[in-house]
Symmetry: C2
Subunit: 344 residues, 2 copies
DNA sequence: TTGTATGCGTTATCAA
DNA sequence: TTGATAACGCATACAA
């Protein structure tokens, strides 16, 4: 409970000097600074955040708004943000804003309006116009992870590119009957729509017909959709692009259950490089949600330091990780078989 | 940016009355209260949390400390806490304290010491003596989710009971060669140790030998451990108790890959009723992390309201959910086969 | 380099 | 029932 007055007294200086010594602002002789610091330490002095905030107008706290926290991508981003903020001594207050809930309304109307933070990180928020209005009216810098370009800072995967790469990989192997699994539900997410578009564009450019299979964006969702899709022997595709690894892995599990060998009868590719991807030998386009979260946090803190420099838009390129869930379609010989061995 | 002074002026009352009208403390005539409230609304007045905290000593914020946020259990608990706090208008600031990291030290030494919260919820923290000391020295009420009894409030699953039920279920089906998968690593968690004990005690009481197979507590961890365990045809168990569903599901996936049919050649039971449990037909002992989180939050808020009533210790009993990952061991006829059909 | 005095936006105490 | 005014604990402009 020791206040700065106690510290000042113990070091026999004024509160002002004590404050300067502790915060490192303004001139203080090295001698007295040491005395103050020692006094503070021995008294176990910790500045009251409320008082500091009131006096400075800054909270040393960052707000994070996300629609889910228990889904892999979001949890990973959160960890990345937390890590980065920790390093800079910033606190993190979390706002859960599940789409379509009453809680979400309260978050936008009441909680965010309290401005208990110096800046905001919005992860996959997809705000309505109304919500977006509230967001900007808060008057604090915002960085979003995932999502379309905006005036705020953005850190996101280049979804179009990732989906294109995934599709091209399968086309390159000789597949033509390639289905895209994911999205299309009630709360169609921007990410999934973009990836679907990347897939569709690539398919059309190659002169083959795209085939979108709606699916909940989760492992059980991918499983269920794949069971339906693969159960019909006649129209069965030879390859699947999952909108994310969870969906792709669900499809692999479904295939195994149905006795369809992967990759010899069915190729599957995902986007993420999820924690489980290796265990399922999933070929995928890697992104790092943790790195994205950390990057967003750094960008926001940078902005707080220098309010004048405009914030950037960072588009990350996913890199293909080849594992063994993809191969040429049945009947088509492997490329390696038909060509000369590559020189070493 | 409107302050309470602006509201007061607009309603032509003093700041004091404005404050009383808005906070609902002290006498205010219904007439003026309405005037003040309307003025506040039309000005878009939102009280400065910093000023309120400074004046009242309360933050309307709850700190949550957990070692992971991306693991299923923790993420679910977090959602439960968030939900409950939201309903009561409380903010949530999150502290990530992964065991063995430098960040964890900083959380305990610096971040928590700032006391930016009225109370703390510790989820599966397993603090060292040193850390525990810091925790109590903060002087704020604490509720822990998961973990041993303490002076603080506790909300947790009865792990001993859950593991016993799981083991008894398998014993009752006629299994004798039952392995326990999970825990035993470097950061042996209290939960896993307790569940292991519940298993071991039950096995010994039944006169059969317990067999603990160490495993990382995750789906890939369970998979890897099960591949090793089941690969050895000679010493293969007929049943597995997973310390949690993730481990159990990993084991099921491993069994499928190895061509071992579940449940006819191998029974698997878990603890959790994880999001994926149904999709793998996993028999399991259900608990609700969300409910535990919400319960902990309510308990803490209750304590803040009435500081005198001591906090309780809530032990939840898991309930067995029968799916089709468990059956009698090979060679032993199903109970139903050997007995008269049950009356309808 | 240090000290004095004021402000930050509320709530709470005391009179009126 | 209301209003003036003093905390709350710190940072900072200004003076010394």
């Amino acid at each position: 409970m020791a206040g700065i007055a106690d510290v000042a007294r113990a070091a026999s200086v004024s509160k002002a000097t004590a404050s300067r010594a502790l915060t490192g602002s303004g001139y203080v002789s090295e001698q007295t600074r040491a005395r103050v610091v020692e006094a503070a330490a021995s008294l176990g002095y910790v500045a009251s955040t409320a008082a500091v905030s009131l006096a400075t107008g800054r909270t040393r706290n960052i707000g994070v708004v996300m629609p889910y926290v228990s889904r892999w991508f979001f949890a990973e981003v959160l960890e990345g943000i937390q890590d980065a903020l920790l390093r800079h001594g910033y606190d993190l207050t979390l706002y859960d804003a599940r789409p379509g809930t009453e809680g979400r309304t309260r978050v936008f109307d009441d909680f965010l309006a309290r401005k208990r933070f110096d800046g905001l990180i919005a992860v996959g928020l997809e705000p309505s116009d109304n919500e977006l209005g509230r967001l900007v009216s808060i008057g604090r810098p915002v960085v979003s992870v995932v999502g379309p370009p905006s005036e705020a800072g953005v850190v996101a995967l280049d979804d179009l590119h990732a989906a294109r790469r995934a599709t091209e990989h399968l086309l390159g192997l000789g597949h033509t009957r390639i289905a895209f699994l994911g999205g299309g539900g009630e709360h169609q997410a921007f990410v999934d729509a973009t990836r679907l578009r990347g897939y569709a564009v690539t398919m059309e450019a190659a002169g083959v017909e795209p085939h979108h299979v709606p699916s909940a964006v989760s492992l059980p969702g991918g499983y269920a959709a794949a069971v339906d899709l693969l159960g019909d022997t006649r129209e069965r595709p030879t390859a699947i692009v999952g909108t994310c690894d969870e969906v792709a892995i669900g499809a692999i599990i479904a295939a195994r259950r149905l006795g369809i060998p992967v990759p010899s009868s069915l190729s599957v590719v995902g986007i993420d490089n999820h924690e489980y991807a290796e265990m399922f030998s999933l070929t995928t386009l890697e992104q790092s949600p943790q790195a994205q979260g950390a990057r967003a946090a750094e960008m926001l803190l940078q902005r707080l330091r220098e309010p004048d420099v405009p914030m950037a838009e960072v588009r990350l390129q996913a890199t293909l990780i080849l594992r063994s869930s993809t191969a040429p379609p049945p009947g088509v010989p492997s490329v390696a078989v038909g060509s000369a061995p590559a020189p070493r």
